[in-house]
Amino acid sequence: MGSSARLYLAIARGSFRRYSTYRAATLAGVFTNTVFGFILAYTFLALWRARPGLGGYDTSQAVTYIWVSQSLLITVAVWGGGFQDDVQERFRTGDIAVDLYRPVDFLGWWLAADLGRAGFQLLARGLAPITAGAIAFHARMPHSPLTWPVFLLSVLLAVLVSFGLRYLVSLSGFWLHDSDGVRAVMLVVAMFFSGMLLPLGLFPDGLRQAAQVLPWAALIQVPTDIFLERSTGSALLAGLGFQLAWAVVLLALGRAAQLLATRKVVVQGG
């Protein structure tokens, strides 16, 4: 048990370092997130000027919503990516067959790698936009110091849910040979239902209720509401429980799909 924990830690650390190699790309990405933060924050300001208190957000919370979501976008991989690119390349080359017979769990390997990636991107791509928002737009920082650790826990759960979703998409490659199409559709769904574009509370009736129970809400909406201290007490626990439940369900589904996929590879002769 101890040795496998050390192994996964080494994978995560390696992944963290791998992403930290591309400094110029990281800087360019931070710049882009910040530019989008500026543009979108102004549009939210205009909307909340017209409708103060819309969706239960005051104006400062609304603007902060933009900056927190821009800071989380890459960490929770709303667009997909991260390990997905690596797995996709291995489908193309056929190396995937070898991967399944390694003495390391396939899911565990990629999960550890993705957590390492997310750790780096939270630091590298998360801090700058929220700082820019705090300076330029007086973004609302949490009032209680306890919010910070709870927020980080929520981000961790968000990454687990995101991984679960992306893992299922990647495994669809076993049946479809190419998961590009599914990935493109998932990008649309994830952008829309995560709350990345607009807080889910602003959706029209019906769509709102649906969006709030779908797993994508765990990516942006739940952690951002925790950061804004909108969810406190039992609502806070409900939010974290929602994320945890989806993480467990999706990872279990991923495990089951992996078993099926492994059988399929054997049938095909590897």
């Binding site: 110029a24 990405g29 710049f31 530019v35 102004y42 549009t43 193309r92 493109a184 607009l198 602003l202």
Partner: protein, 305 residues
């Protein structure tokens, strides 16, 4: 096919097409003299290369249709957000939904057409890293034409198509007296806007000659710029509006000409001539992008292969 070998290690990906013979036709082998002739030659090279990639994509029709559909959905999301915002208000920055539709339609159309025509140029850094740019430089066709047409895909028609639908809807919903000057101005802004975004794509990609990983940086100006132009200038701080008028010429894509068409006051109070100056701004952008590209290509020292 050294290019494919370099791109994929030792394995040649079977789904990729082989180079057509047409690029190597004798007519295009010689670099023509004279400005106009050179321009024709560059456009012809682009066209040949784009036709080849289109033929390749059409070999996988189902995949193409799926991706085109996904592309239309993705690019529609931005306008869906605008519609959702207008569920809660009837004005944003003093502009109505059909007016925002006009902003969105023009901006997304210009960005989409520019992306279709030259968008592939943003992969320049990867080509430099993989050494495939060197292959392009020794081919008898202008490097810029090749880089812009590489991986050309009609899938990118999704954005302009969807933008056209929004544009037509907003034109029919607006109560604008379409005199000939306004029609002409709208046509001119669609062309100038496409040219301005095209220049931003090329100019931004040029940075990758020096800063290979900077691909995402130009997204701030192209995709970020288009997002900015979906919303009325009154929403933003005056400094920002001034920055995209006198710095990066985004305001000329649609803000300034639409102020005239919709009869709105200019938040910066600029002379009315600015509202007709989009073609001039487009010409200037092309000049700057061309100079940057030339400087970048001159500074490029090859990948050593």
């Amino acid at each position: 096919m050294a290019e494919y070998l370099v791109e994929n290690g030792s394995s040649v990906r079977p789904e990729r097409p082989l180079e057509p013979e047409s690029l190597l036709e004798p007519e295009s082998l010689l670099e023509p003299q004279g400005r106009l002739e050179r321009l024709r030659w560059a456009l012809r090279s682009w066209q040949l290369s784009a036709a080849m990639w289109t033929r390749a994509a059409m070999a996988y029709r189902t995949s193409f249709v799926l991706m085109l559909g996904a592309n239309i959905m993705i690019t529609s999301l931005d306008f869906v957000v605008v519609i959702l915002m207008f569920q809660h208000t009837d004005r944003l920055g003093g502009w109505t939904l059909p007016e925002l539709g006009l902003l969105y339609g023009t901006s997304a159309f210009a960005l989409g057409m520019a992306d279709l025509l030259v968008g592939s140029v943003d992969a320049l850094g990867e080509r430099i890293r993989a050494g495939t740019l060197d292959v392009m430089l020794i081919r008898p066709a202008p490097a810029l034409s090749q880089v812009c047409a590489e991986r050309f895909t009609l899938r990118r028609l999704g954005r302009p198509a969807q933008a056209t639908v929004v544009l037509l809807w907003s034109v029919s919903a607006l109560r604008v007296d379409w005199s000939w000057d306004k029609v002409l101005l709208l046509a001119a802004l669609l062309v100038s806007g496409t040219v301005i975004f095209g220049a931003l794509f090329v100019g931004g990609a040029t940075l990758q000659f020096w800063w290979g990983e900077a691909k995402e940086l130009q997204n701030s100006f192209t995709y970020g710029g288009a997002t900015l132009l979906h919303y009325p200038p009154t929403v933003f701080a005056k400094e920002l509006v001034a920055g995209v008028t006198f710095g990066v010429p985004l305001a000329f894509v649609n803000w300034l000409p639409l102020l005239h068409i919709l009869g709105k006051p200019d938040p910066l109070g600029l002379p009315a001539a600015f509202q007709f100056a989009s073609p001039l701004a487009a010409a200037l952008s092309v000049l700057v992008a061309a100079l940057a590209w030339r400087a970048g290509l001159r500074a490029y020292r090859g990948a050593g292969n």
